[in-house]
Symmetry: C2
Subunit: 325 residues, 2 copies
């Protein structure tokens, strides 16, 4: 099993890159990212609470099942995918709150994927975001079913949004493609199949661009589709999503080695322990970090066409690079 | 644990009811149900084969994952839900082959639910349709992921159908409602939660109308929505679907007691063995059979408004009553 040294200096380096990038930008950054993220997360969390409340009111939905869904949804996620979807929507000119159910549907998909990935038959994780995983609290059967329920309700949430039907169908197609067997589920399947085996660069690229990258790309594209972005903007945002999504997972791999359990909210070093194929296990820690930096720079370059409107997406890319969990 | 006597005479009784019903009908039956079912199943199977072929061609979809999906989809299902969807569509005046992807999406949902239900953490079944279950052949992780993939692709299949977007959204909403936490998944959750405990009439009614009934009701309604059925027809078909769906599961319970392993393609008597709450365990075998007969009669009465066009749906209701597996 590959053993890699921890490198706490990397976090500081990220801060430098962030400052360097902002200095290189054609515009003066006026936004406060913390306030921006807080505001968007609050909207998503409110929508999620309303969703859970509606399930509790529905006599057809078993109370215990809702409890498991709520436990997993409200475990303190960063809402990265919904925030990216909203930021992309706004970057492409969207202004309505109609984006909220679309953005929130991505959190339902992400949460279901975490519940299923954590199962004993899959990654067998006992902790997630510092709390016991759903199957540890409610048992495997209820965890599987809560995952199935969230996956199904993600599509229902988009169907029930106040959106022109033609746009809704495009968004639903994007969501199903990003999260299905040619996207997220495909990535997780290859990840599991190659566990404990030595994978090459091509394999680890497939795993990362699908397991994590596909839904992040999808989130950004769904925002753009909701804003009826023209082909130039859609293409720019797609490139941003693709590169950012890959960088996001590479940094996740790096943090698994350099982070502490307290910072991560889950077992540190778990990837190496399980024989997972990661960018650090294939490229080494320093090169993986460099690759992530390059990808994030390219993701920001791709959306220069959006000018000032690209600012939140640029700030998010830098936040991704400097995050500690 | 409740022990019930097997009753092979019930099958013969069903044949008599079928003949009696046809004699009571306002129209002369001219259709050949065997030919009808064979033809519809063939269309659905062809569509399923094309779907699997497209996954095999897609380099983004892992070969092994497609193999598990194909194994479960092609295990010889009766395609009850797709056939009902097509029959309902035609009964409501639909004539186009556009119904095929909509009907087939129901088989993807049904197959995913079987894969997940058979898992060791759920019903722990080793055989399904006379073949080892997916997790016995490919392992639990791949079975969970193949289920997730089929569930997600069901929505993609509807999105990609040649359908007016407004109709597609209505159909997608119906599909997600029928198969989600207030529908099929909710029924399965209560079924698991009450396993080994003595359930009452209300509980077993909830389990059956949700675990099985909801998707059958949904199948019939999706056909009607695709045909743009007027409110009277939609309401009639909804009642047919509701009553037929409940009767279908009651007969499943009865067959679990009266059928042989060879006929069922799965372990006979498994429900009693597992302490499952079924209609026979609550009402007894004879009363359950009577309830199913009454429900099927009422389901046929509900669609008299469709006159001659109701014939295939009536024939299917009778087929459900007389089936041996």
């Amino acid at each position: 099993m590959l053993k890699l040294p921890s490198s706490p200096s990397i976090v500081k380096k990220n801060q430098i890159l962030y400052t360097k990038h902002l200095n290189n930008c054609n515009y003066r950054s006026t936004m406060n990212l913390d306030t921006y993220l807080k505001e968007k997360r609050k909207s998503v969390d409110t929508f999620l609470k309303d969703y859970i409340a509606s399930k509790k009111r529905d006599k057809d939905c078993p109370r215990k099942l809702t409890e498991v869904m709520e436990y997993a949804l409200m475990a303190g996620g960063k809402r990265v995918r919904p925030v990216l979807c909203i930021a992309s929507y706004e970057a492409a000119g969207g202004t309505s709150s109609c984006i909220l159910p679309i953005a929130t549907s991505l959190e339902l998909i992400h949460t279901y994927s975490l519940i299923h990935d954590d199962l004993p038959a899959m990654d067998d994780d006992d902790f997630r975001r510092g709390k016991p995983t759903a199957h540890k609290v409610y048992g495997e059967a209820m965890a599987i079913l809560a995952g199935d329920a969230l996956l199904t309700d993600a599509f229902k949430m988009v169907c029930e949004a106040e959106t022109a039907p033609a746009t809704a169908v495009r968004v639903l197609k994007e969501l199903s493609h990003a999260s299905g067997p040619c996207g997220m589920v495909g990535g997780q399947a290859v990840d599991i199949m190659l566990e404990g085996k030595k994978a090459g660069k091509k394999d680890v690229h497939y795993i990362h661009t699908h397991k994590t990258g596909a839904l992040i790309r999808g989130a950004v594209r769904m925002g753009a589709l909701m804003a009826k972005a023209n082909p130039v903007k859609l293409s720019a945002l797609t490139e941003y999503g693709e590169k950012m999504g890959l960088a996001f997972q590479i940094i996740d791999d790096v943090l698994d080695i350099t982070g502490t359990q307290e910072e991560l909210g889950k077992t540190a070093g778990a990837d190496i322990e399980k024989g997972k194929n990661t960018y650090p296990s294939v490229y080494g820690l320093e090169k993986s970090q460099k690759l992530a930096e390059t990808l994030l720079q390219e993701s920001m370059d791709a959306i220069q066409v959006l000018k000032k409107k690209a600012e939140p997406l640029n700030a998010i890319a830098n936040y991704i690079l400097s995050r500690r969990n």
